[in-house]
């Protein structure tokens, strides 16, 4: 198999995930897009490991070991990320990342929630 096939597929999947991270508004959909990007990297790691284990007689199998580590770290990341999203949803009533602007600089008066939340945080 040409190495170009998995490499091109991984590049396309990565850019799909990039579009999702930039364009989505729901925080859980952003997490899904992050998973797509991580999977693209995994595909690259596996393909290059198979290539190197044959072409360079590599017996360390670093690509597959790193793929397993990436999968485990992605599982940890999705757990922590969903816990954060649920905590934000419980506090703010939304998981829309366009509305979570408390730490943004110079948010306008169009968002009536933001000053109250700021005051609550300042007085608490």
């Amino acid at each position: 198999m040409h190495l170009a096939y998995p490499a091109v597929l991984a590049a396309l999947l990565f850019c799909t995930g990039l579009y999702g991270v930039l364009a989505r508004r729901n925080a859980i959909l952003v997490l899904m897009s992050v998973e797509l990007m991580l999977n693209a990297v995994n595909l690259n790691l596996v393909a290059f490991d198979v290539w190197l284990s044959r072409a360079a007689r590599d017996t360390l199998h670093s690509g597959q070991a790193l793929t397993l580590f990436t999968i485990a770290i992605a599982a940890a990341e999705i757990g922590i990320g969903l816990a954060i999203v649920l905590a934000v949803y419980r506090n703010r009533g939304t998981s829309d990342i366009d509305k979570l602007r408390d730490t943004a600089e110079g948010h306008g008066p169009d968002d009536p929630d933001a000053p109250a939340a700021e005051k609550a945080e300042a007085t608490a």
Partner: protein, 223 residues
Amino acid sequence: MTFAAATAASMAARAATTVAAGQHGFLSPTGVEIAFLLVGLLTFGAAVVTVTTKQLVHAALWLVVALGGLAVEYLLLTAEFIAWVQVLIYVGSVVVLLLFGLMLTKAPIGRSPDADSGNRWAALTVAVASAGALVWVVVDAFRTTWVDLGGAPAGSTEVTGASLFQNWVLPFEALSVLLLAALVGAIVLSRKAKADTAAGGTKATAPRVPGSRDGEQDKEGVR
């Protein structure tokens, strides 16, 4: 001198790889390549639908198709163990976690018109530009590289286990500590604040700002 030698060596290596891959043209693909291409098209299409659909639950279900297609790609690349780990962890647990998250945040069933934010055209520009650059570079770099898929599988469970527990034991153990930390962190983050005051109120108020979280909770509840 050394530069000339390095250049000659690289030229020789390139000639060798070209000769090695010269007998495999892109216009006469092997069966594995055709299968890889078809499953890759399915995977890419499912990924595109995942990031563009307006129905949030459908996005999670298309993500299952994309991740399952990637597992088939791993099988075609003879990495069996990774493929089954992918099925177990991604399709089995991560997507279920995402669906739970969608339901717990009361995601609307059906079409939600505000699934995409206003900067989707800028995002599309960035994604298409990076895709073009990446595909160009990758194709230019690995056009002549040939992966030999014959012989014993490169990623069978025996091979992967041996290399993992011979060469990668220390990172593996560190990773188990990280998973434990992530588990504890997820529990702490998702615990209700009421339980926080009841259980940790006596011993945990001293180091933190007194009542910061609880006061905020009360105000949020009033609001």
